[in-house]
């Protein structure tokens, strides 16, 4: 949206409304709580228990008390009107040995401390005493289920619903003993008894301790960390740092998990590529616009048991593949709703996902409501972004000079060249005209609570983010509901539903084309200057007149039913639906070059994806003997995905404000439907002995119709072993060592995500073919041999923990991809340029490590995490020939045994001929030749580096002191090479069409010049140098360290917050992409990797915000 006065007024108006709304909300809540405190109660001989129930109903307060304590009280008679809760409770508990405390709408009733000193019945045995007390959380809420352990013994007590515990010990023990209090998600607390009998303990939440529970898959309950054998990297809500101004969680993952590489991009709202332990699918050798021809290289995403649809399918008609732009389906999940993300990396963890787990699995668990007082959190984020590391382009004068020189080099007369080169003093700042400081706004609201029977969480969010490029923005509305309900002791039911609406404007697609600087942007009369001779439209006219608007909706929901036949035998079923709609309207206005020749051109794409899944499983934990723990899960899963596509395009819009196909002069439409279905059986067996030896076996059979008429089946199995070695007697006693564990796993997963019926020869159709008759064209040749690809994963890991504060995990792995599917070049005479085939075997070998430490744990806290992934890819065998070559030199790729699939193949630049200015290369014999006599076939190309890094990861430090928190996230990547787009500095070849890099100033001009850029020429007349798109000239070292995020926060102390009836208040500031360090330096006033890395520059974003809890 372009800020016109009207729009600005609207925006301002919106902000005011928001403020009013927020203030109103807070006020209402306060009013409500004050009003609700008034109690009216008139009764005779009522039990205290009943009276409390009535009070609870009237006030909405939560009550915690032990039933027996209240039950023994005499019935009471009471008559109050509009009394405060305090007054009523004082009356109720008068003359009893009970006391109460009220905090935050929670009432805890317990024995008064004087009463607790009275010996109780189980203290009758002489020499023993009972220590009693309560365990509360940070917020003063009782913790149910916390462990209280007498240090050095196996004596354990567990807190009750109201946080109460009692533990018996001898007087002797009590003298010098410590009690250890622990609870999942909270820091452990040691308490020296030293004569106390009543102990009130508050445990504080611990970020790292959340790692104690790991979501291992969507089929079974989370496991304690010690039980997990598979290689799983987890990222918790806190670690995800959702206050960062990043629009989807996939982009947030950068640097947060060992062995997980996020290939960033600079375009808002588009998916990023995630490589888990390297690239597990072969590089597509058939061109960027047919990326869907291989099996998917993306991990499988599972949200609360429902797999997320891959939007694009390989068998879609070209009308969709070529023209439709898709939204990132992962942006349909509000990062704030995520509780944990588990990245399953090895076979022990991932084999239960079978044929789709080849690229790893990312399991997302959303937040659920917690029993207790209802909580409302409101967050607001606001900020702005600017571009950094921009490519420096030639200015108007430089451009004209170079273009003139180019034409003269092409044997044109100086006068002709001068005429063709245009103005020498005009300098239109196209970048500044088409870009801006962009804004970021985000509001989050979540409301959660419940009781022991029902917990709920409702959340909503609104995000509005502008891209730096004008005309591009992104707007999201998220809603999520989750309800968990316990019907009976045996029966649980859960429900979640999450609709999301996305609006994206992406009109300025020409923003990445550098327009020549010596033409004006506007005519003298203020209209847009036409750039038609340049073959590009005026981007300002495009921003102003064209439309590219996508509206997407995701509706992701599921119902979980769980029934416990017995304590150890549970059956559960999950029915999930994933509906995705994407509607895109593109309009090329007749007023500018994009739609001029067609008098306006509109395209409408309508995509709907219906997916459902049903998985049903039984979990059994048979009790055989003490020390033997068995956990068996088995289930079936059915999945179906239907994609329905509809597109229409129309030309001729005499009145360009009515952009509907019905107003077009001529209309063309197409539609298509795709199906994918699969049926699977899976099972998992976990066994451990004395929590020392662990075994897991997972297996899954998938059946699918992808490969032809016959249903194909595949079985994948993974086995894992774990051994806690420090529990062995022979293990050397090392001071402070808590854990020394060895893990090993071996197994297979698969990758079946190619289009349906690919193995059959297929005709595609076009309704308006020759003479407007229906035409069909052969698209693929029959290939009965096409079959599943397999991914055999091996993993060996060591976990070390010491001093309770330091954790090290190091894992070594080898993933073997067998029969990987890829399009390979076919002889052109066969009628097909390529065919799909099981082409090669490939391996990824490497190491992941993560080190985490709580360096300081006192008032000043410092937590530090370093993770790294080292990976080496190698193609092992190429079937049916030693090498397969890419169809296009610009892809600079080939497949060859012994070399990485992500390798860059090209030609070694030998500089510029001093005498002729020709571009020189080393040929494959090492001889220096000119580019025109170089054999530019990929057959003669060399290995010039790898696109993927050898070593990459993140380094995250969190400091906190008295309510202040600082988090610093650094991301690093070593060893990757980047092949940049040659068009930016290609010897002037493209100079007549677009601006080029300032590096071109270092060109050869006359014999004797020692230059880095060859003699300029357009190449149109066959003179000059041919294009060598995969020259080492265009390869840069992409080794970098970046300070990707710094955030600072301050939380108001709860004592102060409560004074204002607030539960918590945090204010924070955030800065992304602050500092970059590249190994390869950029020469002064020139461009290097720093500038070239992204064709469109990266954004540096600064935000501030607050989070308010009520």
């Amino acid at each position: 949206m372009i800020p016109t006065p009207n729009n600005i007024a609207l925006l301002k108006c919106g902000k005011h409304l928001l403020c009013v709304w927020l203030v109103g909300l807070i006020w209402m809540l306060n009013v409500e709580s004050v009003a609700a405190q008034k109690i009216t109660l008139s009764t005779q001989n009522m039990t205290v228990d009943k009276a409390l129930h009535i009070i609870k109903k009237q006030t909405g307060y939560l009550f915690f008390y032990e039933y027996d304590l209240v039950q023994q009280l005499k019935p009471i008679t009471i008559n109050v009107k509009e009394a405060s809760i305090k007054e009523v409770l004082d009356i109720l508990l008068k003359n009893t040995d009970l006391t109460y405390s009220i905090e935050d709408k929670t009432v805890v009733i317990r024995k008064s401390s004087s009463a607790a000193r009275v010996p109780i019945k189980n203290q009758t045995i002489p020499g023993e005493l009972v220590i009693k007390g309560h365990v509360y959380n940070d917020f003063g809420e009782p913790i149910n289920g916390a462990y209280v352990i007498l240090k050095g013994t196996k004596r354990v007590a567990i807190t009750t619903l109201n946080g109460e515990f009692a533990i018996t010990l001898t007087h002797r023990e009590a003298e010098n003993a410590y009690l250890i209090f622990s609870y999942v998600g909270y820091s452990k607390y040691e308490y020296r008894i030293s004569g106390h009998k009543q102990v009130e303990v508050t445990l504080s939440k611990n970020i790292d301790a959340l790692n104690d529970v790991v979501v291992t898959n969507s089929y079974s309950k989370p496991k304690r960390k010690e039980e997990v054998i598979g290689s799983i990297a987890t990222v918790t809500a806190q670690e995800l740092q959702t206050s960062r101004p990043i629009e989807s969680f996939d982009k947030m993952l950068e640097g947060l998990a060992a062995g997980v590489q996020v290939e960033p991009n600079t375009e808002l709202g588009t998916p990023v590529k995630i490589n888990i332990r390297g690239q597990n699918a072969l590089t597509n050798l058939y061109g960027a616009n047919r990326t869907t021809l291989t099996t998917s290289s993306q991990p499988l995403y599972v949200i609360d048991g429902v797999p997320i649809v891959e939007q694009r399918r390989t068998d879609e008609p070209l009308a969709f593949i070529n023209n439709e732009q898709l939204l990132n389906p992962l942006a349909g999940i509000n990062p704030d709703d995520i509780e944990t993300i588990s990245v399953l990396k090895d076979a022990a963890a991932a084999a239960i996902y079978g044929a789709n787990a080849g690229n790893g699995v990312i399991v997302i668990t959303t937040k659920k409501g917690k029993a207790g007082k209802s909580r409302l959190n409101i967050g607001y984020n606001n900020g702005w972004a600017q571009s950094i590391n921009r490519i420096k382009w030639l200015n108007g004068t430089q451009y004209q000079e170079l273009l003139k020189e180019t034409y003269m080099n092409d044997r044109r007369s100086p006068a002709d060249a001068e005429l063709l080169a245009g103005s020498s003093d005009m300098n239109t700042p196209w970048f500044e005209l088409t870009n801006r400081y962009s804004t970021y706004n985000n509001i989050d609201v979540d409301f959660s609570g419940g009781n022991d029977v029902t917990q709920f969480r409702l959340s909503g969010s609104y995000l509005k983010q502008e891209a730096i490029q004008r005309g591009n923005d992104f707007e999201k509305v998220y809603v999520r509901m989750r309800i968990d309900h316990t019907v009976s002791k045996k029966f649980n039911i859960g429900f979640s539903f999450s609709p999301t609406i996305t609006n994206k404007n992406g009109v300025n697609v020409y923003g990445i084309v550098p327009i020549v600087p010596n033409v004006p942007a506007y005519n003298a009369d203020g209209t847009f200057y036409k750039l038609s001779t340049l073959g590009v439209p005026n981007p300002l006219a495009v921003i102003d007149q064209n439309i590219n608007k996508a509206t997407g909706g995701t509706f992701n929901g599921n119902v979980r039913l769980e029934y416990a036949f017995a304590q150890n035998l549970r059956m559960s079923t999950n029915i999930g639906a994933d509906v995705l709609v994407n509607k895109l309207t593109i309009f090329d206005s007749p007023k500018n070059a994009t739609g001029e020749s067609k008098n306006g051109f509109a395209q409408i794409f309508d995509r709907t994806n219906f997916g459902w899944i049903n998985s049903t499983q039984i979990n059994w934990q048979p009790i055989i003997k003490i020390h033997h723990k068995i956990d068996i899960t088995g289930g079936i899963e059915l999945q179906s995905q239907t994609t329905r596509l509809l597109t229409g395009s129309g030309t001729g819009f005499p009145y360009s404000r009515l952009i509907e196909l019905s107003t077009a002069e001529s209309v063309n439409t197409a539609s298509s439907t795709q199906f994918v279905k699969s049926a699977s059986i899976y099972s998992q067996l976990l066994y451990n002995y004395k929590a020392r030896y662990f075994i897991s076996v997972s297996s899954r059979q998938d059946a699918a119709g992808n490969f032809g008429t016959n249903v194909n089946k595949t079985i994948n199995t993974g086995v894992g072993l774990g051994w806690v070695m420090n529990k062995e007697k022979w293990f050397p006693q090392i001071k402070h060592l808590d854990l020394f564990r060895f893990r090993y796993s071996y197994g297979a997963t698969g990758n079946s995500r190619i289009g349906s019926n690919e193995a059959r020869g297929l005709y595609t159709f076009y309704a308006e073919g020759y003479n407007n008759m229906v035409s069909s064209y052969i698209e693929t040749a029959p290939n009965a041999n096409l079959t599943w690809e397999k991914n055999i994963k091996r993993n060996m890991g060591i976990d070390i923990g010491f001093k309770k504060r330091f954790n090290i995990t190091i894992e070594f792995y080898r993933n073997l991809v067998i029969r990987a599917i890829n399009p390979v070049n076919a002889p052109l005479e066969s009628g097909f340029a390529y065919r799909l085939a099981n082409t090669a075997d490939m391996e990824n070998k490497g190491m992941d490590a993560s080190f985490s430490a709580q360096i300081a744990t006192g008032k000043f806290k410092w937590t530090s995490t370093l993770n790294m992934g080292y990976n080496k890819n190698k193609v092992l065998i190429v079937y049916g020939g030693a090498v397969q070559y890419a169809s296009d030199n610009a892809l600079a790729a080939l497949m060859k045994g012994g070399i990485s699939t992500s390798a860059i193949w090209g030609f070694q630049y030998a500089g510029v001929d001093v005498n002729t200015g020709k571009e020189l290369y080393y040929d494959n014999t090492g001889k220096v030749v000119t580019a025109s006599s170089l054999d530019r076939n990929l057959r003669s190309a060399y290995y010039l580096g790898d696109r993927l890094p050898k070593l990459q990861g993140g380094f995250i430090n969190t400091f906190s002191f008295k309510g202040f928190t600082a988090t610093i996230t650094m991301v690093y990547s070593f060893g990757a090479k980047k092949l940049i787009n040659y068009l930016n500095e290609n010897n002037g070849r493209n100079l007549q069409n677009r601006n080029q890099s300032v590096n071109l100033l270092d060109r050869w001009q006359k014999p004797g010049d020692i230059a880095s850029i060859p003699k300029l020429s357009t190449g149109v007349s066959g003179l000059g140098n041919p294009i060598v798109s995969n020259s080492s000239r265009y390869i840069y070292d992409d080794t970098y360290i970046k300070l990707s995020n710094v955030s600072l926060g301050y939380s108001l102390p709860s004592s102060i917050a409560r004074r204002y009836n607030l539960y918590s208040l945090t204010v924070f500031g955030n800065a992304t992409n602050l500092i970059y360090w590249y190994k390869q330096k950029t020469p002064a006033n020139r461009n290097g990797i720093k500038e070239y890395k992204f064709n469109f520059p990266e954004a540096q974003t600064f935000t501030w915000g607050f989070k308010l809890g009520i």
Partner: protein, 467 residues
């Protein structure tokens, strides 16, 4: 209560797990149909044949690449602008064997892809149920004629002329009369003689099948589908290229004498190119339909604003060949304008764009006259030859002096000049230069390889190859 829920759960589970697995997994095919299914009815089979025709109507083939190639390399076309010239490697004779750097690679791919479809039709035609023998014959006649035509187009671009060696034993192109299995290695090209023999045999077969066939297409003018006469006309041209003068002459004259395709008159000549009418002298035209999504005219029409394509201006060489009274030089045939600051003249043969685009005339009876003239000259019948030539000369320019043949070579040279005047931008010039063993001379040309002498490897375009 719990018990009640238990029943519900079990019922739900049973419903879901009792779905028959293999039935559930059957995925219906919607937007694509497998080869063995498409030939199970007449309409399905026909779509495959229509699709083959439709491939002719693409930028890769008659809509640009193949049709422009001989005029761009032969010297009828100069680029009117300095930016984004298309087929620039053709112009400079810098096509490489890599598909990336070969401007004729797309044509090569489309040609063989179409041949694959044609061969599939021939293979499955007998499986189409419930069709008459005459309908089946039409499928086969079209398949053979189209296969021959595509091979003829390929061999003209990618091989040296037939008469380079006395027995035409030099390398030609790959003949595809049977489809390969997936994964088969790249086949070897046949000799030019073998290729021409195959082309002649295919046209001969098609003529036989057309002889006992009925129309199978429901739309379009009959001239936009191949026919027995089209097969004969093309065969006449093939015979001319291979030097079978007798047969070339006999086929051409038979069609001329049949009077089915009368020459357009001088008065109607210009308008026959400007309206979306089927020309009376046309024997085969490639139809655009109502929604072509681009046209050959986009590259010639300087009045299209905002288009990226306009670039094929006429060379001064060609313009200088016309007499000022020649109808083909008329303002109705050429648009003189200033483009990119320089004067330029654009042919109006393809002036219409999009839904007004004129069909592409692939072969018309004017060519039969000039084939007859050349073949007669070669056979020593100079008067007969001059007669056919003069018919075309006088039609274009009634004031033209009657050409009198003084020698065989003079007559043939004049036929070649007339061919250039008559068939410019209709995909002939460079092929005529090559088959007559002439040197290439391009005067109004900025290419490094503006001119070269015969013989030269450049007379055959380098065959593109997937690496």
């Amino acid at each position: 209560m719990a018990k009640k829920y238990t029943y519900y759960i079990i019922v739900v589970l049973l419903v879901f797990s009792s779905v028959s697995c293999s039935k559930f997994l059957e995925t219906p095919v919607t937007n694509r149909i497998a080869i063995d299914e498409i030939f199970t009815d007449f309409e399905g089979a026909r779509t495959t044949m229509v699709g083959c025709y439709d491939n002719l109507r693409s930028y890769d083939y008659y809509m640009r690449d193949f049709y422009i190639y001989p005029d761009l390399t032969g010297g009828n076309i100069r680029y009117s602008k300095t930016r984004n010239p298309v087929l620039n490697n053709n112009y400079n004779f810098t096509n490489s064997n890599s598909t990336d750097f070969n401007d004729m690679a797309a044509f090569y791919k489309t040609a063989y892809a179409t041949i694959y479809s044609i061969n599939t039709v021939i293979k499955y035609v007998n499986k189409i149920p419930n069709i008459t023998i005459q309908q089946r014959n039409r499928f086969l006649a079209d398949a053979y004629a189209l296969r021959a035509l595509i091979h003829f187009d390929l061999v003209r671009v990618f091989a040296q002329p037939y008469n380079l060696t006395t027995d035409a034993s030099h390398t030609g192109i790959v003949i595809k009369n049977v489809n390969a299995e997936v994964g088969d290695p790249s086949p070897n090209p046949s000799s030019v003689k073998q290729v021409y023999d195959q082309i002649v045999a295919d046209f001969d077969s098609s003529i036989v099948f057309y002889g006992n066939s009925v129309p199978i297409y429901t739309a379009g003018n009959a001239k936009t589908w191949l026919s027995i006469d089209a097969a004969k006309a093309f065969l006449s041209k093939v015979c001319l290229y291979k030097g079978d003068w007798n047969r070339a002459l006999q086929l051409a004259t038979a069609l001329i004498d049949s009077k089915v395709y009368p020459l357009i008159s001088n008065a109607q000549y210009a308008s026959s190119w400007s309206k979306k009418n089927i020309s009376s002298e046309s024997i085969f035209e490639v139809a655009y339909g109502t929604n072509p999504g681009g046209s050959l005219g986009d590259f010639f029409n300087p009045t299209i604003s905002g288009s990226n394509y306009i670039q094929f201006a006429t060379t001064s060489d060609l313009l200088s060949m016309y007499d000022k009274n020649d109808i083909r030089m008329d303002v109705a045939m050429f648009k003189d304008t200033v483009f990119d600051n320089r004067p330029a003249s654009f042919s109006k043969k393809y002036y219409g764009t999009n839904d007004s685009a004129n069909n592409i005339k692939v072969i018309r009876s004017s060519e039969l006259y000039l084939i007859a003239a050349e073949a007669a000259a070669e056979l020593g019948n100079l008067d007969e030859g001059a007669n056919y030539l003069n018919t075309i000369r006088k039609r274009a320019n009634p004031t033209a002096i009657t050409f009198t043949a003084t020698s065989k070579d003079a007559l043939i040279d004049e036929v070649l000049n007339e061919r250039r005047r008559e068939f410019c931008f209709e995909g002939n010039l460079f092929f005529d230069v090559a088959r007559r063993k002439k040197n290439l001379v391009r005067i109004d040309c900025t290419s490094e390889n503006a001119s070269f002498n015969y013989p030269n490897p450049k007379y055959a375009c380098t065959i593109p190859k997937n690496q």
